[in-house]
Symmetry: C2
């Protein structure tokens, strides 16, 4: 696909989207912790949410809004407080966030999707949140897109944004995205929030299917620490401003093109999340090839990327391929142990399930890099999958030892 | 049950068992790294093994020996090298360990069970191993039981031993056990090796059933880092020296007594493994009560004990109960989120799925202890389960960043 990356682009790069941010002072007084992203006209919406049984109040509310209608005016989000395990009050607070945002824009509360991220079990300071939503709503601009990406950060060390341009039926179509990640990152999904905006014209049903596919190949293939949070949310809003013929049939060739572009946006954000895993010093990419089926490839790639022991070995730049093999062995994937080859950054380290002779010096050089690619060849079929993760450092422990304080 | 703990006891406490150790110099020259535990007469044997598809050579061999016959003369084990992912040579080496041990004792190789623990993908130095087996076999003694527990250590910081005395049909019966744990500890099972000896008279089939039950309530409920190794092995040998009427029917009341005692030995060893998790500073015990079924209780307890985020919070002595709730939420257990109560060392920290008001000072005192007990009440039935784990410290990362070197 010919997707053009728009430098410095984000959620307000697609036509008709604006953002606004404010300081509600939820966890700290000195930073933006509230963001609104608004479409000038109703946008088709799709979303995927955490599978955690303790779904946070904003997750419950957004699910309800999504079930009630396919079109939305915007997304309101705060960081610093997850509004999870907050009982009835939490549900009321989440609704008030939607209601306040809707009041500023002039739409109904049901046209807003809501997300929160931060500490679990603490109530939102609603007076400050309402005030901040009002402020953010009164200063909507295209320029504030990057500030919105900043406002959703928690222990993230950099804001995560991307924008792409593609062509659909001769029309220029833009997609923009922002995400926050850092801790609690694990398939299905992560304390990760992501919002993707696009000016493509696409039906809500097609958008949901495109998101399902993109999510499976991106956010669901990222692991930082194996914990699936209460708040994971990925939202896509598509306002049709690009003027392409409406994508309303998954058999339309344009739909495939759109899916590819959405996957590219989501994978770019997913990799940024892995690279910025709490305390991470390295990005790990695990490709499993020649698996008997896609689920085998996915299970194997995720188990390897998620192995605590391997992650610690990578931090130490130790070519301990036994830990790759070990994680593969408990992944649940189907394969024959004596047919497995393992490559570390292109270097063959295990062949047919046993150690290959390789240069420790060369392995050391590959491990010293900031991006480490592991390829596992199962020689058992033709399915493949890629997962992303990071190393496990002292810093991860430090960050999580006193996250609340 | 009236089980008496024998101070300083271990695998040679039961009658008719002796041990011998030697230095094969596998990873270091200065320590015992090879042990033999031998019964004076054939002992009924039972074992459970890793579920990892890359089962190490000694695991494959021991499974075969177990399938061929129910009686054994001994157990031979080395540390420093896992003899895993070593292909055909690995299988030959494992067999040679059994053969050499059998030669010293005067029995057939099939009467030995074999285990190895250490680095994956490296061949055993067989000449040194054969010599060491010979040496260990020539100095068998009751006194060397504790040395055997030392010889199987890898990154363990203390040797793990226990012995109990019970009464079966008026006869004094002894059980002794040793284990190694430390890293790669996870249900089904752990890089953990354990050997339990007993002078009870019990049939191989009953012994296997007793071990299955004990293992499910002990080693399968311990997690250190979520990695299931290639070498996990738990062996029980019962030589009948106590002279109790043979337990050969699971309906025999004596069988239940024996099961309880075996469970007690295995749980004691499992807790030592958790307490000595790599880098651990605290032992974590998670009890899930009032679950709808035993599997729900087990899943919930294990997910909580295994949460990386919770483990880091415990290291930091942070009463972040949201992480307990979060792990429960993704555990797969059945429950109603708004009925869940959480206790931290007896202190109610969450009630009906939301935060309870509690004294942070009191919580801080409880978290400063070396043993932390979490109770989660699902209010959804009457099943219960207990899992053990430990905190995640800087030291875990340090140990695993350069394990091979």
């Amino acid at each position: 696909m010919q997707a053009l990356v728009i430098k410095g682009g984000g959620v307000t790069t697609p036509q008709g989207f604006k953002a606004g941010v404010a300081k509600a002072g939820i966890k700290s007084q000195d930073r933006y912790d509230l963001a609104l992203v608004v479409s000038e006209e109703p946008a088709a919406g799709a979303a995927v949410f955490t599978t955690n049984k303790f779904a946070a109040a904003p997750v419950q509310l957004s699910k309800k809004h999504l079930a009630q209608g396919g079109f939305f005016r915007g997304f309101v989000v705060n960081s610093g407080c997850a509004n999870a395990c907050t009982g009835e009050k939490g549900l009321v607070d989440a609704f008030q966030m939607a209601q306040t945002a809707a009041g500023v824009i002039g739409c109904s509360p049901g046209e807003f999707l809501v997300a929160s991220t931060g500490v679990v079990g603490v109530d939102l300071p609603m007076e400050a949140v309402r005030r901040a939503i009002g402020e953010a709503g009164n200063r909507l601009s295209v320029e504030a897109g990057s500030l919105a990406a900043e406002a959703i950060m928690t222990t993230d060390t950099f804001a995560k944004e991307i924008a792409l341009q593609i062509e659909l039926d001769g029309q220029k179509v833009l997609l923009g995205g922002m995400a926050k990640g850092a801790g609690m990152i694990h398939p299905n999904m992560a304390t990760m929030l992501a919002l993707v905006t696009t000016d493509a014209a696409i039906s809500p049903a097609c958008l949901q299917e495109a998101l399902r596919r993109a999510n499976d190949a991106s956010f669901n293939m990222v692991t930082v620490d194996g914990d699936t949070s209460t708040n994971d949310t990925v939202v896509v809003l598509a306002n049709g401003r690009a003027g392409n013929p409406l994508l309303e049939d998954t058999a339309n060739p344009g739909f495939e093109l759109f899916c590819e572009a959405l996957k590219e946006v989501c994978q770019a954000l997913a990799k940024m999340i892995a690279r910025d895993g709490e305390g991470a010093t390295k990005l790990l990419e695990v490709q499993v090839v020649n698996a008997p089926g896609p689920e085998d490839a996915r299970k194997a790639a995720r188990a390897i990327a998620g192995s605590t022991l391997l992650k610690a070995a990578l931090f130490g730049e130790d070519a301990n391929w036994g830990r790759i093999i070990c994680a593969l062995g408990y992944s649940g994937a189907r394969f024959e142990p004596d047919r497995v080859d393992v490559y570390l950054g292109g270097l063959l380290v295990a062949r047919n399930g046993a150690g290959a002779s390789f240069s420790e010096e060369e392995a050391g050089k590959l491990l010293a890099k900031e991006e480490i690619r592991i390829v596992v060849d199962l020689q058992a079929g033709d399915a493949a999958a890629t997962a992303w993760g990071c190393d496990l450092s002292y810093e991860y422990v430090r960050i999580n030892a006193d996250y609340r304080s």
